[in-house]
């Protein structure tokens, strides 16, 4: 039996679409709820980010409970930056008890890039170790080898960086995550298909599902900022140039166009199992992207 609705979909062979929502800084969750409502019927699952970019926010687990309450399928993003093994295990058990059964295991951005640079970074474990820790809980034992009274079950995923500028060490890490039990990967943002094709030629030998990460750019300025300040993101110059051709105030439209083109390309070439759309603050436009990508595809 599938461990979650999303796992069922992973095994269905259909082209999957996931997206993500970022919880607010503060307790006003109206916009978050609005985004969940807008997206829940359009995608196969909604990731809830975990203090993304190390900026303190409403918790990922709280966001996942909202997704559940509103009838959507959540993926709990869980980083190792803020919790030790004790706290991670407790949150995992809590998540399972409330029907949050998909987890994306991430190491987490460094504390230094966020808005609380003076707090203590944890990193008691990292992504590959967290994946194994989840599998350990499923076996009925905790991280110290003690018996659990009732064990959870999760559909677990991880991230990979297909267009990293130094790819070999990233692929070694990828294989460790596969060996640790990752069932699906939502990739770091990709901006062109050439390097992604190369990655998929390699990755298709593994029995895991790959969802290509699509970051929707709102302007050339945002792309430059991401290159400079967002960990790991490498937006190619051609994409920045294309964004720069947009008229003032039309940058997001151009970003949507690029995202749609990438999704169509991936789907037409049958490159991977689906896409993960990251609209970073513009969650409202995701349905439009999905509609355009799928509709234009149907017409070709």
């Amino acid at each position: 039996m599938a461990k979650s609705l999303f796992e069922e979909k992973l095994n269905s062979g259909k082209f999957l679409i996931t997206t993500e929502v970022g919880p607010p800084k503060g307790v006003d969750i109206e916009e978050l709820k609005h985004h969940i409502d807008l997206l829940k019927e359009k995608v196969d699952a909604i990731n809830v980010t975990d203090h993304q970019s190390s900026v303190m926010r409403y918790p990922s687990l709280g966001g996942c409970l909202l997704v559940k309450e509103q009838g959507g399928e959540p993926i709990l993003q869980m980083t190792c930056r803020d919790r030790n093994r004790m706290a991670l295990q407790a949150d995992l058990m809590f998540a399972h008890s409330r029907g949050v059964n998909n987890v994306l295991a991430l190491t987490g951005d460094s504390i230094d890039v966020g808005d609380h640079p003076n707090v203590k970074p944890v990193f008691d474990v990292e992504s590959a170790q967290l994946l194994r820790l989840i599998r350990t809980l499923e076996s009925g034992k905790d991280a110290a080898g003690n018996d659990l009274k009732g064990s959870p079950e999760f559909c677990i995923g991880a991230s990979v960086h297909p267009s990293a500028d130094f790819i070999e060490p990233q692929l070694i890490k990828f294989e460790k995550k596969v060996a640790a039990g990752a069932q699906f990967f939502q990739t770091q943002g990709i901006f062109e298909l050439a390097s992604f094709r190369r990655f998929m030629q390699y990755a298709s030998q593994f029995n895991v599902k790959i969802l290509a990460g699509i970051i929707v750019m709102a302007s050339a300025g945002m792309a430059r900022y991401m290159n400079k300040s967002v960990p790991g993101i490498i937006v190619p110059q051609e994409v920045i140039d294309e964004l720069a051709t947009a008229e003032k105030g039309k940058g997001l439209q151009k970003g949507i166009e690029i995202a749609v083109r990438l999704i169509r390309g991936i789907k037409e070439e049958n490159l991977c199992d689906g896409v993960h759309i990251m609209a970073v603050g513009n969650e409202g436009i995701v349905p439009e992207i999905i509609e355009a990508a799928l509709m234009e595809h149907a017409q070709t």
Partner: protein
């Protein structure tokens, strides 16, 4: 060696304010090499504090200076026992271990730290020191080609790089090398990439509950330590 940085003079002035007679005590080992707490720095700091007093027209302190071979060994502290009787506070320019040795050796004496103890590291070039060891108590340099990921990776992770690395640099700073890229390159050079492909389980943080103590085996104690 242990790398320290001298505290700003105004902070030292605030610390010594309540005490009239102050012994500025240097240390002849690590802090001498990193130019922060040796005989020369003791003398410079003495001059700086005197000058500050003259400028403020409030002469309220008397200073004596001394530098011992090692503040972290009690036998060297015996040499300042007499001087310590004549002062109200000792301003230590040794690392935190030296300052605490003084506190333990002279139970009635006020001890003030004149430096911030930063890390264990090495000189990279003149005036530049880099951290290299966190004394984690569980050395894995054999697995990582002699490059410590606990110290040199900002997240201290064990199974390869995170996805934040760009141009071989860390997400924290474009000036900082990604330790895991360095490890990969060196393992490749040594023909040992299989070591990177291994899975490393979570660290044993048991050595962390502090303070730690190491007991020498009886044979070593019999030979008589390594003072010198």
């Amino acid at each position: 060696m242990i790398i320290v940085e001298q505290k700003p003079v105004d902070e030292i002035q605030r610390m010594i304010a309540p005490y009239e007679r102050v012994l500025i005590l240097g240390c002849g080992t690590c802090v001498t090499v990193c130019n922060a707490g040796g005989e020369r720095e003791v003398s410079f700091l003495h001059d700086a504090l005197l000058l500050a007093e003259v400028e403020s027209k409030e002469i309220s302190h008397t200073f004596v200076e001394h530098t011992v071979k090692r503040q972290c060994d009690e036998e060297f502290l015996d040499l300042i026992a007499e001087e310590a009787n004549d002062v109200d506070a000792i301003l230590s320019l040794a690392c935190g271990i030296g300052a605490q040795s003084i506190a333990e050796r002279f139970p009635e004496m006020v001890v003030l730290p004149g430096v911030n103890t930063s890390f264990m590291g090495m000189a990279k070039q003149w005036g530049v020191w880099d951290e290299r060891c966190t004394a984690c108590g569980d050395c894995r340099l054999d697995d990582t080609a002699g490059i410590c990921p606990i110290t040199r990776c900002t997240k201290g992770i064990l199974n390869g790089p995170c996805a934040g690395t760009k141009n071989g640099k860390c997400e924290v700073s474009p000036e900082m090398d990604c330790a895991w890229i360095l490890i990969y390159q060196r393992l490749e050079r040594l023909g040992q990439l299989d070591k990177m492909r291994r899975y490393y389980p979570p660290r044993n943080f048991r050595p962390i509950p502090r303070p730690r103590r190491i007991m020498a085996s009886p044979s070593i104690v019999a030979v008589g330590g390594s003072h010198g």
